[in-house]
Symmetry: C2
Subunit: 191 residues, 2 copies
């Protein structure tokens, strides 16, 4: 997700100072006092992100099961992160007085999804997924388009690499929806 | 560890067929029927590998605690892998009738250590570490020289990213030996 640290040691911002900075594209993330900018998404990243959020929305929105958001800034603890996709169970969507989604999200998502970009630091992305597990996140996906594999993270468990026909675990609340690694990566094909 | 699959679908080798092939440099690994070649080690990889095996040997050999091996082929289950460093507790070193280390290692190491190379598939390397946990491996390190961080894997646990002053966990059998991430990466410096 992030590869460039933009922070100089002389002038570390607090999380609150970081949050009043204007948003830029690609999004910047605040991690333990450091600011990192996400890589500019490329073709495969963009396509998987779009098709996956469509699929999650299709499975989740009709029966008010869950809702997926693209590039939604979530600020909690000492980090402000912008996963490629976050999913909240319907009951956990942060709402304002009018029952609309809040603009500032101060909780961790139930499910965080990251899609690796070429030359991105995989260990930093993994660290952000693990950070979410300190804040009630139930599931993390790290999608590797190059390897056609998905690393699955769950709290207090070993990660698991899934590929080919293997079914990718989703939030338990999605009772019948299933997606295999093959199906996910088939979305890259235009022939 | 591996980025290039050398296998053609038409002619998949069995593990036994793979094991009688001549060794090449960099080493090839056999994973679920596919053959992958490790990347050629570059400067930082080479330096960390050398200094880390020296440090482990220094801490482990004198009191017959543990022994570290460089690029030792370990073949077990459906894979034949060559981690950058493997460590066996002294009592687990595979011996022949003469009390010498065997040439063919058919068990998993107690501790497996991988050092990321530029452009290497991190998810594949992680998958090899996780594979070891099915075979009694107790500890896995994934060293990321670029990020100056080490991802720590233990069976049935979330991985943990350690950096800076944090102490990197070693096998319990090393009672007093400690190494921080800072110390590890300080070995890269020649000034």
């Amino acid at each position: 997700m992030m590869s460039v640290s933009l922070t100089s040691k002389a002038a570390k911002l607090s999380l609150n100072e970081f949050l009043i900075l204007p948003e830029v594209k690609p999004a910047r993330e605040y991690i333990d006092g450091e600011i990192y900018q996400k890589p500019m998404p490329k073709g495969k990243h963009s396509r998987l992100q779009k098709r996956l959020i469509d699929a999650i929305s299709e499975a989740g929105e009709k029966d008010k099961i869950a809702c997926a958001f693209l590039e939604l800034r979530c600020s909690f603890g000492v980090r402000s992160i912008v996963p490629d996709i976050v999913v909240f169970e319907w009951k956990n969507i942060p709402l304002d007085d009018r029952g609309e989604i809040k603009d500032e999200i101060a909780i961790a998502p139930d499910w965080t999804i990251e899609i690796l970009s070429p030359d991105q630091s995989t260990t930093r992305v993994i660290d952000n997924i693990l950070y979410c597990f300190q804040y009630q996140t139930q599931l993390g996906w790290l999608i590797d388009p190059k390897e056609r594999s998905v690393l699955i993270f769950r709290p207090q468990q070993e990660p698991k690499l899934l590929e080919r026909k293997e079914i990718l675990p989703v939030l338990d609340i999605f009772k019948s929806w299933q997606l295999s690694a093959n199906e996910l990566f088939s979305w890259l094909s235009f022939t």
